[in-house]
Amino acid sequence: MTGYVANRLAQGILVLFLISLVTFSLINFAPGGPSSLVSMESTAEQREARLRQYGLDQPAPVRYLRWLAGAVRGDLGDSINQGLPVERLLVQRMTVTLQLAGYAMLLTAVFGILFGVLGALHHNRWPDHIVSVVTTLGMSVPNFWLGIVAIIVFAVTLGWLPAAGNATLGGGFDLSDRLRHAVLPAGVLAFSLMPNVVRVTRSALLEVLASDFVRTARAKGLPQRGIVWKHTLRNALVPVISILGLITTVLLSGSVVIESVFGWPGLGRLAIDAASGRDYPVILGVTVMVGALTVIVNLVVDLLYAVADPRIRYG
């Protein structure tokens, strides 16, 4: 078990190293690379000074090694546009993203599994058809457009909910205010991510419902509810955990576009601002951080398999 975890972590570190290398190369060997940052400085001396300030007078491999040496000590460099250390920006934005991600994840998991069970139990009858219509819509409607429509309906027309931000400006911390701000973005995210959970739950459940031990349980006269929630769902859990893990990584990366629609100041927003402001240290930092989260979530998911299904063991 410990050996397995250690092995996976080592692999994860290798993947992270490669992610940073790929991102760094993409950024640095591009025509509009970091050196274009200084093109607006007027005199040659000023340009020189700027280049030295960001360490851009060094060749790319040297710069990468310097960055790497800093990164292993938790120093990801300074943001060019904001002047703050990248790691501090990341932590600050991450907490904001986590609030939205947690809320959206809860909605996605609860409604996804519920609708999946509903579809499987009424296979090919009208509840199943309704579920499949809703999920197909969820997969096809662009989530950011749904966000805009939600703002039109609930904020502009009805005036029930705030249109943007994660808290009312100037107020202190107020839980109900925070939740009111999160309802629309979390709901929209859940609507667009839920179809994946529904599909996986439904098909896994259908497979297990057709198996012999379920027939035995029915023959023994066990009530339907016990069969579904205890015997069947537990056995259908592994693929469901796997899709929930995948969704977690999507949510943690800050659901880039939705944060932009709702002015939610999280990681996704940071990434877009960095991208349009050509803030290279931030872009690199965000990508590596999101990669790290993905690696960790994937490991946790694999370990959860063993919890859900005791037949799975890691040597």
Binding site: L18, T23, I27, T136, M139, W145, V149, I152, V256, A275
Partner: protein, 277 residues
């Protein structure tokens, strides 16, 4: 012959899939011939006729610069559909070649390609697109390549699995024994086995690519004005939500319907071609 009629019967049992094909054809015809038949220019501004309601003259009204919204939707549709289709081909090609080589040859090629797949799977697709577009600029061609490139790893996985499975199959050995070269064996004998899965993935991939382009353009990082795309029309419209919310509704409906059609077609194809899926 019996084989063919069985396939035909299976297809006829997918009314939604057939409807999706008709819808996609209709949409493509509209995008090809619409701009020629509809009397308005997508980029002609009219300062005296801004934010008009739909009328017989302007079918979907005009935007904040007095440009005809329906004309812009037609022009933007050409861009969005082209990005969707070509990006999918790019992703499919890179993914298939990489996955096939890794599965068929094994050894260091397999190690290298599959590690790269791990790396690209760990970077969320949208982040990868952001990084590439900021570095290499947002020329429309660059956007197409980037969106396509962002899902090569998802395409490579299933292709790799199938090629690995069939690498030592009897029909492969037979072909090799008859003197078939590696490329011939891969293209003529193994690839047809992967075909059904690849077609399904590709169809769903078109929808995904259209959504990615729309998201990117909505953020202002994709297709740039004055060239219109459904995504950047939405970006424009968000500033006028209070004045004229319908501006934000029309392009979204076109995106949603187009992606819906490709998803329905993909699901129907899965039922027909890929009994395990």
């Amino acid at each position: 012959m019996a084989e063919r009629s069985r396939l035909l019967r299976k297809i006829l049992r997918q009314p939604l899939g057939i409807a999706a094909v008709c819808g996609i054809l209709l949409l493509v015809l509209l995008m090809i011939f619409g701009p020629g038949l509809y009397p308005h220019e997508p980029n002609r501004t009219a300062p005296l006729a801004t934010l008009q309601a739909p009328s017989a003259e302007h079918w979907l009204g005009t935007d904040e610069l007095g440009r005809d919204v329906f004309a812009r939707i037609l022009a933007g549709g050409r861009v969005s559909l082209a990005v969707g289709l070509i990006a999918m081909l790019v992703g499919l090609t890179i993914g298939s070649v990489a996955g096939a080589a890794a599965g068929y040859y094994g050894g260091w090629i397999e190690n290298l390609v599959m590690r790269l797949v791990d790396v690209f799977m760990a970077i969320p697709a949208f982040f990868l697109i952001l990084v590439i577009v900021t570095s290499f600029g947002n020329h429309p061609l660059m956007i197409i390549l980037t969106v396509g490139f962002s899902f090569w790893s998802q395409m490579a996985r299933p292709v790799y699995a199938e090629f690995k499975k069939f690498r030592n199959a009897e029909f492969v050995e037979a072909s090799q024994a008859l003197g078939g070269g590696n490329l011939r064996v891969m293209a003529r004998h193994i690839f047809p086995q992967v075909m059904p899965q690849a077609v399904v993935l590709a169809t769903l991939g078109v929808g995904w690519a259209i959504l990615s382009e729309a998201g990117l353009s909505y953020l202002g990082l994709g297709i740039q004005p004055p060239l219109s795309s459904w995504g950047n029309m939405l970006q424009n419209a968000q500033a006028y939500l209070w004045l004229n919310p319908m501006l934000a509704v029309y392009p979204g409906i076109f995106i949603a319907v187009t992606v819906l059609l490709f998803n329905l077609l993909g699901n129907a194809l899965r039922d027909v071609l890929d009994p395990r899926g």
